[in-house]
């Protein structure tokens, strides 16, 4: 069952078009990764799906169009983006950050339960719940950004470069958590990454983006073995 369907997506900044007709899909409970070099349009793709920038084409969630929606409506529809650079509310406590993540929800009891669940999945956040988010380390802030996005109970989680600026061990940890959430909650994910090795490790399918177009797609295994990906992103 297709959860997210993107067809002929074009988007950009002002007169500069960055995406020239990107098409991709994410099935229910599936992890899909988008690979690509700097400037290929990975972040633009994410921002376009999340409604942060003007875009044209088709973006359907479970068959319903979400292309014209403002960012908060996209969240309400069930898509949550963990932005590049984490977008932490630095002057809010960890607890408040997570409550902000539940902005669209009205079910107090459910919010409480989710808080407890994510504090259990992210014990490092639980030990700092009253601390200002700006004082956390990069890895902790990444965990917080993921947990905050999960607080909206998304059907699809978008992650923009979760490994950016993190030490290898921490990157491992972040991806382990993503994989765990995927398995336990059956949550579909679309992950944009430069670290192809680790991203392909948890994904079932992958797309290769170059200069605003999808140039290659397939199962994670097949992309791992393709020469283009190996040379450019895996380095062997």
């Amino acid at each position: 069952m297709t959860l997210l369907e993107v067809r002929d997506l074009t988007a950009g900044y002002g007169p500069a078009e960055v995406l020239h007709g990107v098409s991709l899909r994410v099935e229910e409970a599936e992890i899909v990764v988008v690979l690509g070099a700097n400037g290929a349009g990975k972040t633009t793709t994410m921002r376009a799906i999340a409604g942060l920038i003007g875009r044209k084409g088709t973006v359907n969630l479970d068959g319903a169009s979400i292309i014209g929606l403002s960012p908060d409506k996209v969240v309400a529809a069930g898509v949550s983006l963990v932005p590049q650079g984490r977008g932490t509310f630095a002057k809010l406590s960890v607890d408040d950050n997570l409550h902000v993540g539940a902005a669209k929800r009205r079910d107090r009891q459910g919010i409480k339960e989710d808080l407890a669940r994510w504090y259990e999945v992210f014990p490092v956040l639980a030990s700092r719940r009253k601390q200002m988010a700006g004082t956390l380390s990069g890895g902790e802030q990444q965990m917080l950004a993921v947990a905050r996005a999960l607080m909206s109970r998304p059907r699809l989680l978008l992650c923009d470069e979760p490994s950016l600026g993190l030490a290898p061990l921490i990157v491992r940890e972040v991806f382990n958590v993503l994989q765990r959430v995927n398995t336990e909650q059956q949550m579909a994910m679309l992950i944009v990454e430069q670290n192809a090795e680790i991203a392909l490790g948890i994904a079932s399918r992958a797309y290769l983006l170059e200069a605003g177009e999808v140039v290659s797609e397939g199962t994670a295994e097949s992309l791992r073995e393709s020469d283009a990906v190996r040379r450019a992103y895996l380095g062997y």
Binding site: L52, S70, V75, F89, D96
Partner: protein
Amino acid sequence: MQVFLERLFDGISNGAIYAALALALVMVFRGTGTINFAQGEMALFTTYIAWGLTTKNIPVVLCLLIATIAGFTLGAVTERVLVRPIEKRSLLATLIVLLGLFLALNSLDGILWGNQNHSMPSLFPNGVNSFISVDGARLYWANLGVWLLVALLVGAMFQLFNRTRLGLHMRATASNRESAALAGIPTGRILLLGWGISAAIGAVAGVLFTPLNPDALGLGEMFPLLIYASAAALFGGLDSPGGAVIAGLLIGVAESMLSGYVSAIGGQLQEAIAFVAIVMVLLIRPQGLFGSKEVERV
């Protein structure tokens, strides 16, 4: 002692008004990233509305209520119609538009209500004898009323900021607008609300302040208040509501003491105190007493 106390009372009353206006400035600054130059003139406009209604023998409380609603509407419309389309371009453009609004509102006041000064009736008993004696000093009911209402207003704002979901969403939007939108907060609505609330606070401040002095309601009434409030907002830290309130009170008391005890300042150089405060803050501690460092960039 008696003179000192009376000057202190006056200072606290003025300071409370500066504090309220500074709080309004900080609310707009946190959301939009600009000083609202038109804040004072918005308050003047709504104060004229309130005064106009009192001349029709409508109770002052009701006039205050109507002025507050008018203020909220004025602030919200300003955000939606003037600020939102412009701010995407640049902060400077927004500042210029707000300066334009400052002039436009002042001229509109002149057209609608003329350039004569008026006295505004007070919410509180305001006769020559409506005071209580504190150690021989006269503490007027009007002053006490201002303190009480501003304290209630400030208290309510802090409850809103720190204890409610809406307040949390406002703080999140102020901290990082894009992340707030990505978390599902309708940031446009939050900003509109912030502008509305801040103009409503201004409206209350105007209706409270004007009756403290005879013939105070005039076209030039609010400009000095805006200067004092800006000084207070800067002094407290532009992104710190608590700082704005404390600094507003400090500046009010300092003004009253300095103009009372330093004859060289007297009644003529009062506003210079605010300017000196602004310059000193910018030179010595640009982020203000309670502000955070990031604000310096703006």
